[in-house]
Amino acid sequence: MTPRIIAANLVVRLRSFSREKSAMFFTVAFPVILVLVFGAIFTKPEHMNFELPVQDLDQSDASAKLVKGLASQGVFETIPVPADADAIQYTRDHKINLLLIIPKGFEDMQLRRLEEWDDDASVTLTYIYDPSSTSLKTKLQFLNAMAAAANQEISGTSPFITLKEQSILAKKYRFIEFFVPGIIAMAVMTSSLSGALNTNAELRQKGILRKLATTPITRTDWLLSNVLYQIVLAVISTVSILLVSYAVFDVRLEINAWLPVYVVLEVFAFVGIGMLLTPIAREAESAAAAGNAFLFPMMFLSGTFFPVEMMPGFLQKFARILPLYYLNEGLRASMIFVDNTTALRCAAITAAVAGVVFVAGALVTRWDQGA
């Protein structure tokens, strides 16, 4: 191992990187854009606000109070529908998926029940809906809950069962906070794997490896300078992702010593896997294809974008054999839940995988012409 040679390689690679706009894009801009886009999409439900058109046929004080009550929860923003409109036609014409009708006689029934103690007095609120709408189910849940609360209140007794939430997690987290560690793991995986795979194939194709084989650089120098280069790229993309997440979404994440540990382990693991794939993908084009064939299933099945628990059972089992799963779990354990036991367990598994694939990858790497 010669530090002078490793440094020379690192400098030339970083210099190439800084002058290559597409490399800059995929390392820095792409993960940042993912954070921005997914963050923007999934942050919305936290201030959930549905429009609810209401046709009040009763036009009484009681019905007006009900409409006000619907809006007071902050879930619905009620929109008055003219009493003389045909509800179904109105729903179609205005392309809405849920319309609530308060029937005529609502106030009378309410008075009979409350003042005259008439238990037979009841009202039926009709809703017109479009069953193909995806948000319908959520809206109906809120409506049902409101109706149940109103019924219970009108009966005059205090509720027997109430629910109080207590999370098993030390703290509550938002989707974006779940998402950021996943994106870090994904970005580091992508740049390390494709870096190891494409660079080697490209340098071989261009004949640079053949020239390097006639210089004093050894296999160890070569591998170490590649890993160092990938670590620098991983740090650049991790820092960009975190900066944007803090600046735009004001995330609350724990940044502790686990983060650099995971980044370094992940680089070794995926550079190793890249080196293992290199012999089967010698041309630069097939290298890119082989890399993608590996990266995409890994990304979607390891809990990068959504929790693994959302997948069917057999896929959850499958996820547990993917290295990225442990990186996602471990990074979330350290960055969100500050769960050192899980972080340690996942780091140990990742380290073992990284060690095996890196050594195997180093052994199959023929960076010179070989026999």
Partner: protein
């Protein structure tokens, strides 16, 4: 063969198989220190395989190869710092400039005293020093490759087809650089399929065909030994000339420019033909007698054309 200090390279019984293909078959030769040695052969003859074995980046199937007295299979680490290589189709990092590329290889070799600007001047890259590799033309890339091959002030320089794919002007510019190396007394191992290149630059030419060495010597030697005849060309359109020469016992042929070509052994033959034609009262607007060139020698030895653009008409009997 000897291992004397005069020899920069000694190759003995070198054989290299790729599966069933015998790329190099029992090749032996020596390269003296300070000479320009041209390894000449058509594509696929085994030139690059041989040179890459000598450069220590391929291993031989059998045979012995010594560079500067060291065995290529056992002393790679000692050989590499003392040789410089321009690989076939040399390439470098796209976004790195001429000067940065030379500095990079200088660091790899740990030769901090090498004068980078002198190398840039030697290869006439002065006005390109800050140009990135991917912006260089083919000839400039090759010249940069030669500059890089010299960063460690090597005792032996290997140039694998340094001018292949270059236009005549760029080829001339590379030759100028190579002549400079020759003047500096470097041992140069040159592989090429351009005959002119070998004739212009080489002290010794070795001809390889289908993995076997078929001839070796100075260009003059090779011509002398392998072509003991002269080419007489008669510029005449008259049909009678052909018959007259044939009647004199020669085998004339008409080439694509309607000239008549005759192979003759000695100057007496030329006189006989000229007086024969004159005696028959036929017009003879012009004539030319010359020695065959290496191209013809090569064709005669191997039955192969060196490269696609090689003129074959000169080789007609």
């Amino acid at each position: 063969m000897t291992h004397s200090d005069d020899n920069a390279i000694t190759v003995e019984g070198l054989t290299k198989h790729y599966g069933d293909l015998r790329a190099v078959n029992d090749v032996s030769f020596t390269v003296r220190r300070g000479e320009v040695f041209a390894f000449l052969g058509p594509n696929g003859a085994g030139k690059t395989t041989t040179v890459e074995i000598i450069e220590t980046i391929r291993t031989p199937t059998s045979g012995r190869v010594n560079v500067l007295g060291m065995d290529v299979t056992k002393q790679k680490r000692d050989i590499v710092p003392r040789i410089g290589v321009l690989p076939q189709g040399f390439s470098s990092y796209d976004r790195i400039t001429v000067r940065e590329s030379i500095l990079y290889y200088r660091r790899l070799f740990g030769c901090s005293t090498t004068d980078v600007d002198a190398l840039i001047d030697l290869t006439n890259l002065g006005d390109k020093r800050d140009v990135q590799f991917n912006k260089l033309s083919g000839g400039l890339k090759q010249r940069l490759g030669i500059a890089i091959a010299l960063v460690n002030d090597p005792e032996v320089v290997f140039l694998d087809e340094p001018t292949t794919g270059l236009d005549p002007h760029a080829r001339r510019a590379v030759w100028d650089v190579l002549l400079g190396l020759k003047r500096k007394g470097k041992t140069v191992f040159l592989t090429t399929h351009y005959m002119e290149e070998a004739e212009l630059l080489a002290d010794t030419v070795a001809i390889i065909s289908k993995g076997k060495l078929v001839a070796m010597g100075s260009p003059e030697d090779l011509i002398e030994r392998n072509a003991n005849y002269m080419c007489l060309t008669l510029r005449s359109a008259e049909a009678g000339v052909l018959d007259t020469v044939r009647r004199l016992g020669f085998e004339p042929v008409r080439d694509d420019r309607n000239n008549i070509r005759v192979r003759v052994k000695q100057t007496d033959d030329v006189e006989a033909i000229l007086s024969g034609v004159k005696g028959a009262g036929l017009a003879l607007p012009g004539m030319d007698v010359r020695k065959p060139n290496l191209e013809e020698v090569f064709l005669g030895l191997t039955g192969e054309v060196l490269h696609e653009s090689a003129p074959v008409s000169g080789a007609t009997p």
